[in-house]
């Protein structure tokens, strides 16, 4: 893997911000898009644009073919048993809401428990809170240690036959922690609970084998995997999806409609009401083929090197406190400085061309845990370099100087 070749795949990286080369370190929020993804989206609009599953003309047949080919790419990428288990959504958030609403509505009632972790993104907290409010079920939280690792002893204690579902993030966007989901899933299954894995942050950085993990529900977003925004996937076991009521009603999700009764379409279409983000799905497929062309072995190795390099600098930077120091972590350096508020850091670094995120990262309970209002977060990806890490720390040095 040649870093220069990879950087050349991403046209956006070649630009200056306030006279400095762009240093894009906000990959946990969204990754940049390689030319092949941009080309796939563009080709659809330039050559194939038409609606899918409903035209007999050539354009519609081509669009339908490419849309369904993307589904097959995604099935293969995550080693899913059947493409009937691959449902396109607007992203992780919608995928989780789909499960909370459809599966949760049918399977969760008063006295049941939903178990999530302290480090969840708001999108894996709020839908469950809403479900609990509707049904009278109880939301329980797996605590975490100061390092940003989940307390596995507490997890085992919290699991019981009352637990209907465990919602767990594969890799935390606020801390970088990679959770031991395989054993967590086994333990949950042992008490009869289903598991939803939020793969939004992990999917581009760690190989994920849905069948080996035996995940019941898996949600992720294309835009964090070098694909377009506003598209993602819910992967779920076929027998669960078969038993679940539809999430939204409309076109495409039906077989037969009369005013008396509607017969729903087969999977996966039952959960894809309305005209989907066709270009987005096609771009999603192109993005996963791009990741496959590099391979997770190289990705993991490279991203690890980069995180180690950045962490070493963080450890010697005066006044810097790292937030999240789990043994098993990737790609995320979350921190606070003793003299400069993260939000000011964000602005000051931007003037040096360095893009980071400052805020609560949609994980306010994590901020509450560490008793900080916000953190600054640099998050890395395959195209980042050691020089960019150096630029980050040089800019941090300037910020510290300003508030000295």
């Amino acid at each position: 893997m040649h870093i220069e070749d990879i950087r050349n795949d991403f046209p956006i990286l070649d630009q200056e911000i306030f006279g400095h080369p762009l240093v894009y370190l906000d990959n946990a929020a969204t990754t940049q898009k390689p030319q092949c993804v941009i080309d796939a989206v563009r080709k659809y609009y330039e050559k194939d644009n038409s609606n899918i599953h409903r035209g007999v003309h050539s354009l519609s047949e081509r669009a339908t073919r490419d849309y369904e080919a993307a589904r097959e790419t995604i099935r293969h990428f995550f080693n899913v048993k059947s493409s009937r288990e691959v449902i396109f959504t607007r992203g992780t958030t919608e995928s989780i809401n789909l499960v909370a609403s459809s599966w949760g509505g049918a399977n969760v009632s008063e006295g049941d428990e939903i178990l999530i972790s302290h480090m969840e993104h708001h999108s894996n907290i709020v839908p469950w809170q809403m479900l609990c409010e509707r049904t009278g079920a109880k939301l329980k939280v797996i605590p975490m240690h100061e390092s940003g690792e989940l307390d596995m002893v507490a997890y085992a204690d919290l699991l019981s036959t009352r637990t209907k579902l465990v919602g767990i993030v594969h890799m935390s966007n606020a801390l970088g922690t990679i959770n031991p989901i395989k054993s967590m899933i086994e333990q949950a299954h042992a008490v009869g609970a289903k598991v939803l894995v939020d793969g939004a942050q992990a999917a581009a950085h760690i190989a994920t084998d849905i069948q080996a993990l035996d995940v019941d529900f898996y949600a992720t977003s294309a835009h964090k995997m070098y694909g377009p925004t506003g598209v993602g996937v819910l992967i779920a076991k076929e027998e669960l999806l078969e038993a679940m009521p539809p999430y939204q009603g409309g076109g495409d999700m039906i077989l037969m409609v009369t005013f008396e009764k509607t017969q729903y379409n087969a999977l996966p279409h039952k959960f894809e009401a309305g005209t989907p983000n066709i270009a987005g799905v096609i771009g999603f497929g192109a993005a996963l083929r791009y990741i496959e062309s590099i391979g997770f072995a190289s990705i993991v190795k490279r991203e690890k090197e980069l995180l180690i390099y950045a962490t070493q600098q963080a450890e010697t930077f005066t006044g810097l406190r790292q937030i999240g120091t789990a043994k098993d972590k990737a790609c995320v350096l979350s921190f606070v400085l003793d003299t400069v508020h993260p939000h000011d850091l964000g602005t000051i670094l931007d003037r040096e061309g360095v893009a980071i995120r400052a805020g609560h990262h949609c994980a306010m309970p994590v901020m509450q845990f560490y008793q900080v209002p916000a953190t600054a977060r640099a998050s890395f990806s395959i195209y980042n370099t050691e020089q960019e890490v150096d630029a980050l720390f040089a800019a941090l040095g300037k910020a510290r100087q300003m508030f000295a």
Binding site: H341, H343, D344, G346, T347, I348, R351, P373, A374
Partner: protein, 151 residues
């Protein structure tokens, strides 16, 4: 091109490091909380208003970036001893300054020291940091039921 110095003027750094009128006020007859969900800024403003509608005393506490802290600090200095009507006028002038065209000079006569915050208009994502305290004080004076937001 705008420089960081336009935003982080010395006065602002000074008020960040040692905010004036910081703390709680007892007694106080109005108070309100304000949140900026984007960056986690959180303010609490306490005011004591007398029978003549004069803001006798004002204090704030909370956690925020340097712009929101300095803005709150400067605001409390500017407002103390003024009438509620003066506050409304000053809020309007401040809001105008923070969102005005880039080449418009701040009205230093109306704004006094508050004009040092004029630089925020060059940093669109930071305007709300500067205006949060004003929205919060407005909520306090109106005894609003909901915490103030900057939307």
């Amino acid at each position: 091109m705008f420089s960081l110095g336009d935003l982080y003027q010395e006065v602002i750094i000074d008020h960040t490091k040692s905010p004036r009128n910081f703390g709680t006020l007892d007694p106080c007859n109005h108070d309100a909380e304000g949140f900026n969900p984007l960056c986690g800024d959180q303010l609490h403003i306490y005011v004591q208003v007398d029978a003549q509608n004069t803001i006798e005393d004002i204090k704030f506490e909370g956690q925020g970036c340097s712009i929101s802290t300095a803005s709150a600090s400067l605001m409390t200095q500017a407002i103390k001893g003024k009438s509620v009507a003066d506050f409304k006028q000053l809020f309007a002038s401040f809001h105008h300054m923070a969102t005005a065209d880039l080449d418009e000079k701040p009205d230093e006569e109306a704004l006094g020291k508050l004009a040092v915050l004029a630089g925020v208009k060059e940093f669109p994502s930071r305007i709300k940091c500067a205006t949060l305290c004003w929205h919060t004080l407005k909520s306090a004076l109106e005894d609003a039921a909901e915490p103030a937001k900057t939307e």
